[in-house]
């Protein structure tokens, strides 16, 4: 990784013995203690650490919940109530897990938008970015299957609607979609059989996700972190050791984030959920208004924007297929950002036109989220259609064209110049570049 010279020295006999057989101490020292970190990272860069912590938390609380949960159509709903009322501290662990899912998505969305703003997807970080998109897809699959497990009305009908997306394939090859859906369900409708397999996969996928996270961090440590200027590390002054500088900043970010998390867990644990999910699943009654969890709302709005016509274009029987294709494309297109953006300047700080498109894109995503929570009728449908077009225009038109027509602002010569001003580069009085200088 990086090919930097290692200054790890094993001090004990046992340490030397282990270093020759499994150099784990060397890796930790090189990659997580001495690792050169850009000196200008802001608090948006603490979300990587926050996400790692939440992932561990979700796995720990999830393993505990699985000790008390019953994955069957007859037992699931009651066992959740049992966890909340009877199991010692079950209410707390359950809230950590259910609120944790929302916090996970909140943090990952901040992390992704930070990447968009500072151009973290650009060369040489393409593989790092694609691994990130893969992690988001795995998170979505895991969260979706997890939401099935309480077996409330929203769980049941959420699964019904989302698994039915695959039946759109019937418009291409008759019978293919239905065959896939029945295969997913293990029956002719969503049932306890479906619940059981989703529980199995919900337990499995976080470990797959952890594997991809390891690759994500590996890829990060090969190419190095991006930073608010988007410049590469050029001089020794540009970086500081990861520990204690970046780690202590991460700790501040993590504790601030935990305050928000704890506030939800202890004061409004059900605020982000739906009252309908405290009604046991009933295959004969659809709730009047099905909405997914908040973190899926923008994608749900894109799916629903394709009614029998789209902005006046009649779609006929292809409406459903178009909606499904658009929804999946909305995620997949993110992976192509490294090649869609034609600008070689990474950070939007130095891109006067792109900056406005970024903020408008953020607004588009929030607007789609709002529209996804509204009923699919009247003006909401038209607005969803307009913002769906805006979403894709950002990637397919704004990214390539702005990069060509834009004149970027003058870039600082180096990271240290951007921090210390012109003529800087030397140490400012009172600042220590490394802890041993002070």
């Amino acid at each position: 990784m990086g090919g930097r010279t290692s200054n790890y020295v094993a001090t004990t006999r046992w340490g030397k013995w282990l270093d020759e057989r499994l150099p784990i101490g060397r890796v930790v020292k090189n990659q997580f203690i001495d690792y050169p970190t850009p000196r200008n990272l802001n608090y948006l860069w603490t979300f990587g650490g926050i996400l790692s912590l939440i992932l561990v938390g979700q796995i720990v609380t999830g393993v505990i919940l699985a000790m008390h949960y019953q994955p069957s159509a007859t037992g699931a709903f009651d066992s959740i109530e049992h966890i909340r009322r009877d199991v010692n501290y079950g209410w707390m662990i359950r809230n950590f897990h259910s609120v944790g899912a929302s916090m996970f998505f909140f943090a990952v969305y901040v992390h992704i938008f930070r990447g968009f703003y500072y151009g973290s997807y650009k060369a040489p970080r393409e593989v790092l970015w694609i691994l990130g998109v893969l992690i988001m897809l795995l998170m979505m699959a895991t969260a979706f299957m997890g939401y099935t497990l309480p077996w409330g009305q929203m769980s049941f009908w959420g699964v019904t609607v989302i698994t039915n997306l695959f039946s759109a394939l019937d418009t291409i090859i008759n019978g293919l979609g239905t065959a896939i859906v029945e295969w997913l369900w293990g029956g002719y409708a969503v049932s306890g059989v479906t619940l059981n397999r989703f529980f199995s996969l919900h337990y499995l996928l976080p470990f797959v996700l952890t594997g991809v996270v390891v690759l994500h961090i590996w890829a990060l440590h090969v190419v190095g972190q991006n930073n608010p200027t988007g410049l590469d590390l050029k001089e020794a002054d540009d970086c500081i050791p990861m520990h204690p500088y970046a780690t202590s900043k991460d700790a501040v970010g993590i504790f601030a984030f935990l305050l928000l998390y704890a506030w939800f867990v202890f004061f409004v644990p059900d605020y982000l959920g739906h009252a309908d999910n405290y009604v046991e699943a009933n295959p004969l009654v659809t709730p009047p208004h099905i909405v997914p969890e908040w973190y899926f709302l923008p994608f749900y709005a894109i799916l629903r924007a394709f009614t029998s016509s789209f902005l006046g274009i009649p779609l006929g029987q292809y409406a459903k297929l178009c909606g499904v294709v658009a929804m999946f494309s909305a995620v997949v297109v993110i992976a192509f950002a490294p090649w869609l953006d034609t600008s070689r300047i990474r950070s939007a700080k130095y891109r006067p036109i792109f900056k406005w498109f970024f903020w408008f894109f953020l607004f588009t995503c929030v607007a789609l989220g709002y529209l996804g929570s509204k009923p699919a009728e009247g003006v909401y449908v038209v607005a969803s259609q307009i913002f769906t077009v805006c979403y894709f225009l950002f990637f397919l038109v704004a990214m390539p064209i702005v990069g060509i027509i834009e004149t970027p602002r003058r870039l600082p010569r180096s990271i240290s110049e951007s921090v210390l001003g012109k003529g800087g580069g030397g140490l400012p009085s009172g600042a220590a570049a490394a802890p041993d200088v002070r």
Partner: protein, 190 residues
């Protein structure tokens, strides 16, 4: 050893054949692992149910369960039948009957959606063909949409009194399951 390319010999043949057999074997072992997720024998066994229609009065509807799916059974009024018969099939979004009892390419006339001699009865799988919600319209006071049939609350699909899609994102008419009249007041579904 020669550095020139040689004619394939017996060993090359054995390597290719052996690897090919291993690949085919591995691929065929995959099938049971996929097939285990399909509907199992106990699910397939729930093949038919009988429903007594005697208590259902004109204009009323009941919902039966078949293979875990709701089955809409409505006794249509004369006006509802007429409004369904009067529709020109050419103007329908989905022009096919979607009736399990008939060939797949029959047109979606009201006659093809019902059984001859029992045209007042409409029997449907009560699952919206968009994304699988249960449309409203079975209970008195339910929203039934512009066409007096069924209205799906999830994404606004509207079905007429023959269960045909008329407006909204659903691609197909509500399906008519395999069923037959045992007597004038009893049907067997499946």
């Amino acid at each position: 050893m020669s550095t020139e390319a040689l004619e394939p010999n017996r060993r090359d043949f054995l390597v290719v054949a052996g690897n090919a057999f291993a690949a085919v074997g591995a691929a065929s072992l995959l099938w049971p692992f996929i097939q285990q997720m399909n509907p199992d024998a106990s699910t397939m066994a729930l093949s038919s149910v009988e429903v007594d229609l005697a208590p259902v009065k004109e204009g009323q509807a009941i919902t039966a369960m078949w293979r875990g799916k709701p089955i809409f059974i409505r006794s249509r009024t004369k006006a509802e039948v007429t409004s369904a018969v009067d529709v020109d099939v050419k103007n329908l979004p989905d022009g096919l009957a979607r009736n399990e009892n008939l060939p797949a390419d029959d047109p979606a006339t009201d006659a093809n959606r019902t059984i001859k001699g029992h045209e007042n009865w409409i029997v449907l799988i009560g699952i919206c063909t968009h994304l699988g919600c249960i449309p409203k319209g079975q209970v008195m006071g339910d929203e039934r949409g512009e066409f007096g049939g069924w209205f799906c609350p999830c994404h606004g699909s509207q079905y007429d009194t023959s269960g045909r899609i008329r407006k909204g994102p659903a691609p197909r008419n509500l399906e008519v399951p395999t069923y037959a009249f045992m007597t004038d007041t009893k049907i067997k579904i499946g």
